[in-house]
């Protein structure tokens, strides 16, 4: 494991053998941001892994930012494939597609066209059973 020395003010010296690098960190333990050698990582130190990576599949079905719903491209019960556009949002002068992170079935839709949505609010719920064996009643 690397030897880390806090230098204060968010700066850290990371030494690995004789080689060293400057790193920067900020944020709470469950989403600690780290800058190292030009890369940025968001690390959940409560769990010891990266929350953003782990949650991407779920987050992809919520709006990542305040936005307006431009179009709802699917309906409840529809089978979708990985990469299909489910919802089209508008923010910052751009169209932002919300895509299916994997194959699945639309369980519910929680937004309407024209609605202003906040980050994290679920827009679509997907069931992750491509085969459909566990379809609900």
């Amino acid at each position: 494991m690397a030897d880390v020395t806090p230098l204060g003010n968010g700066r850290y010296l990371v030494a690995d053998g004789e080689k060293q690098s400057l790193a920067y960190a900020a944020g709470p333990a469950d989403a600690r941001w780290v800058f190292l050698n030009g890369r940025v990582y968001v690390i959940n130190t409560n769990r010891g892994d990266t929350p953003r990576k782990g949650q991407d599949d779920e987050l992809a079905l919520a709006s990542p930012m305040p936005a307006k719903v431009a179009a709802v491209k699917v309906s409840v019960g529809q089978q979708v494939s990985r990469g299909d556009v489910l919802i089209m949002l508008e923010a910052m002068k751009m169209e932002l597609p919300i895509r299916a992170p994997r194959d699945g079935r639309v369980k519910s839709i929680a937004c309407q066209v024209g609605e202003l949505v906040q980050p994290g609010t679920p827009l679509v719920e997907l069931e992750h059973e491509p085969g459909g064996e566990k379809r609900e009643a």
């Binding site: 850290y12 190292l36 690390i43």
Partner: protein, 492 residues
């Protein structure tokens, strides 16, 4: 010279203009929306006026609100920056009517060059080649589709008004025509309030090479050389540089003369940019007039670094009636400059724009590096505006020197709290095709996925070790020597 200038913009370009005013001894007046009450440009200016709520349409795009502020504050001139009202001829005319100098070309020139149709006509009359294209008088979807077939596929369909790539659609197959025309029309109406569309033949593997020009009120026009802006994503420039690796001295002379000819034909005044598509490289390359941007360009700093000029100061001087500070013979290129745009976006998630708080933000400071930015540590990137938060400009005596400086600076540019494209830019500057200067406007379409794939690795052990240190219970912190410990009392 003016005593007081209102800056009708926000972010890094407002900061840039405020600094130019300060150096000239001119009082600067910022305007801000509610979302920007704590923004850098708002606090940096000598005075600041609230002009409306966060929505741009009711603040930075509101001619009335901005003119009212200018009148109330006694501003003698308005600098529009880029974007927002910078190319709105009606706003420029309203300024003139109010006896306030619009720092840019006359309203009728903006209007004429703002329409791609009339700009192309003018360029053609000035003897400058243009890409074959058409704007049908009949603007029905069917007529646009017919025009596309006439010009010859592949084509680009784009709004006649506006710029920045908004609403531009490439069509290679006739089956895509209907959908693309509809989408372009929708975006044109939404962004510019005008759905007029223009059809142009697509030049394959073109470079985007533009020329900076500036003209005074006394008939002098000079060009300040080219900028290569081929690295674009969805028509948004990402990296710009000068000189272009494709432009030889002879080609530079021809293109520069063409740019000046367009500006003269237009009766241009102030700073502007003549954009060309370039097919091929070197003396034999062909260039086509694309459009003219009647304002300061985002990427103006590369020109400033290589030509040792201050374009914003020159804009203000020329607008106040002074002659151009240089003749064409005074101007020369020295070394090489590369600008990378820092966007608040997540490259790993299709460059999704990001908004939020900058938990930590430290700009690199080193020889040959200039950072133009509009943000500070602890500040908020609002959701309402363009996600570009800063520009990093590297200058060196050779292209490789500038590239290495840009890389060293990006690796020393921590931005935490929101995702940015810094890691993506590092990969881009290390790409063999970028290193060799083998660029075209499709570069990121072709290479973007491979670049993004290089970003998807998991945190290395060193990053995990750093994260672990201060997320440990606070009590442990006393084990470590922390120079900030003594400051905590007053930082709280």
């Amino acid at each position: 010279m003016f005593r007081r200038i209102l800056i009708a913009n926000r972010g890094e370009i407002a900061v840039r203009v405020i600094r130019a005013c300060r150096e000239l001894g001119i009082e600067s007046i910022a305007v801000y929306s509610d979302a920007d009450a704590g923004a850098l440009h708002t606090s940096l200016a000598d005075r600041a006026v609230r002009i409306g709520p966060a929505a741009a349409a009711e603040s930075y795009l509101s001619s009335d609100a901005i003119l009212a502020a200018a009148r109330e504050m006694g501003a003698e001139a308005v600098h529009p920056g880029y974007g927002f009202l910078s190319e709105h001829h009606v706003f420029a005319a309203a300024c003139a009517d109010a006896g306030i100098v619009f720092i840019g070309p006359p309203a009728n020139v903006i209007e004429r060059m703002g329409s791609k149709i009339s700009a192309r006509q003018l360029a053609g009359q000035a003897g400058v080649p243009v890409v074959p294209g058409d704007t049908p008088a009949d603007q029905s979807d069917e007529a646009i589709a017919a025009a596309a077939q006439r010009v010859g596929l592949p084509v680009i369909i784009k709004p006649s008004e506006g710029g920045g790539g908004i609403g531009m659609k490439t069509v290679r197959d006739a089956s895509e025509l209907a959908a693309s025309i509809a989408q372009a029309r929708r975006e044109a109406v939404a962004s510019f309030g005008d759905g007029t569309l223009y059809v142009e033949r697509l030049v394959e593997r073109p470079r985007h090479v533009e020329f900076q020009i500036i003209a005074d009120a006394h008939g002098h026009v000079v060009h300040v050389f080219e900028r290569e802006c081929s690295i674009q994503r969805r028509h948004q420039k990402v990296v710009e540089e000068t000189p272009s690796t494709a432009v030889t001295p002879a080609l530079r002379q021809r293109m520069g003369a063409a740019a000046v000819a367009v500006a003269k034909a237009a009766g241009y005044q102030n700073a502007g940019t003549v954009e060309f598509l370039l097919e091929g490289t070197g003396d034999a390359a062909r260039f086509y007039f694309l459009e003219m941007n009647t304002r300061l360009q985002v990427e103006h700093p590369v020109t400033e670094q290589v030509a040792s000029v201050d374009l914003v100061r020159a804009q203000i001087q020329v607008a106040s009636g002074e002659p151009l500070p240089w003749t064409q013979d005074d101007l020369a290129q020295r070394g090489h400059a590369i600008e990378v745009r820092i966007y608040a976006e997540d490259p790993a998630r299709d460059h999704l724009p990001q908004a939020g708080r900058l938990l930590l933000y430290r700009q690199p400071s080193m020889p040959g590096i200039r950072v133009d930015s509009g943000v500070t540590e602890g500040g908020e990137i609002p959701v309402h505006y363009d996600p570009m938060i800063a520009k990093l400009i590297a200058h060196g005596d050779t292209r490789e020197a500038a590239r290495h400086r840009a890389l060293a600076a990006l690796r020393d540019y921590p931005i935490l709290g929101i995702r940015t494209n810094v890691p993506f830019l590092i990969e881009l500057l290390e790409h063999p095709r970028f290193i060799s200067g083998d660029l075209d406007t499709g570069f990121l379409d072709t290479e973007g996925a491979a670049l993004r794939a290089r970003l998807s690795d998991d945190p290395p052990p060193d990053a995990l070790a750093v994260a672990a240190i201060d997320s440990a219970p606070v009590g442990r912190a006393t084990d470590q020597p922390d120079p900030w410990a003594t400051l905590r009392g007053w930082r709280g």
